[in-house]
């Protein structure tokens, strides 16, 4: 019923590795936004989102990711999404967002 976010800098691959645990919804999307923006203020590099333990995301969460992706794309960087659960993959698919995010 809440969101935990673990972040680490992967110096070898030069990217932010962010683990999302819990639910991204209208009450937690803002804290995700703030954390991702802070990371980019530190270093504007690729962000890898590990969604293995992400149970839920909705349009407010997708909106945050779209906003961050637009900023990264403008400097040729990316968001890479790994280990999404079936319900999360489905949402990226029906919205067509699987075509603009890198999903593994």
């Amino acid at each position: 019923m809440s969101l935990n976010i673990n972040k680490a800098f992967d110096s070898e691959k030069n990217l932010w590795e962010v683990k999302l645990i819990g639910e991204i919804d209208i009450s937690t999307a803002n804290s995700l936004k703030e954390i991702l923006i802070k990371l980019l203020e530190e270093k504007e590099i690729d962000i890898k989102l590990d969604c293995k333990e992400l149970d839920y995301i909705d349009s407010t969460g997708l909106g945050v990711l779209i906003g961050i992706l637009k900023r990264l794309k403008s400097i040729d960087k990316d968001i890479i999404i790994i280990n999404p659960k079936p319900n999360i993959s489905k949402l990226f698919k029906i919205t067509g967002l699987d075509k603009i995010f890198i999903i593994k």
Partner: protein
């Protein structure tokens, strides 16, 4: 206590659960949870339960985001053997249902995905809105034959 709910419908096989909640983000997950508990009881499979949860969440998001502060929104779950109807109503600012923004994947935006997601996940969706008065959305998911047999 002033809750009032008809909990009756033409068809005696239908049963209703009514809720009303403060228009605040922290209450949306309670409605989502309740919808998934009910969907599970009706006999929907896991994928359908997830679809219902997301669609209900999106409709509640809109009620809360575009509703008025210090107001409430209402949810009605209508349960029958072959389908699950969910109605969500707010007294917020309303909008013109004929020309709200639709998503455009070539030009992705931070907002405007909610109703599109609801329509993709549910079998039947109806939106009524009066600018200045509020919005009503009814969504239906049908129980497929396989899950019905399982019950």
């Amino acid at each position: 206590m002033t809750t009032k709910c008809a909990n009756k419908s033409e068809d005696s096989k239908k049963e209703n659960i009514c809720m009303s909640l403060p228009s605040k983000p922290e209450y949306v997950s309670i409605v989502r949870m309740t919808s998934s508990v009910i969907a599970n009881k009706i006999g929907f499979n896991i994928e359908d339960i997830e679809d219902i949860k997301v669609a209900v969440g999106e409709a509640c998001n809109n009620a809360v985001l575009h509703g008025c502060d210090s107001n409430i929104f209402k949810v009605e779950f209508i349960i029958s053997e072959e389908k699950f109807i969910i109605e969500i109503e707010d007294e917020g600012k309303g909008f013109n249902v004929d020309k709200y923004p639709h998503p455009d994947i070539c030009n992705p935006k931070e907002s405007g995905l909610g109703i599109f997601i609801i329509k993709s996940l549910m079998d039947n969706v109806e939106v009524k809105s009066s600018p200045g008065k509020g919005t009503f959305i009814r969504m239906i998911k049908f129980l497929n034959e396989k899950d019905k047999a399982y019950n």
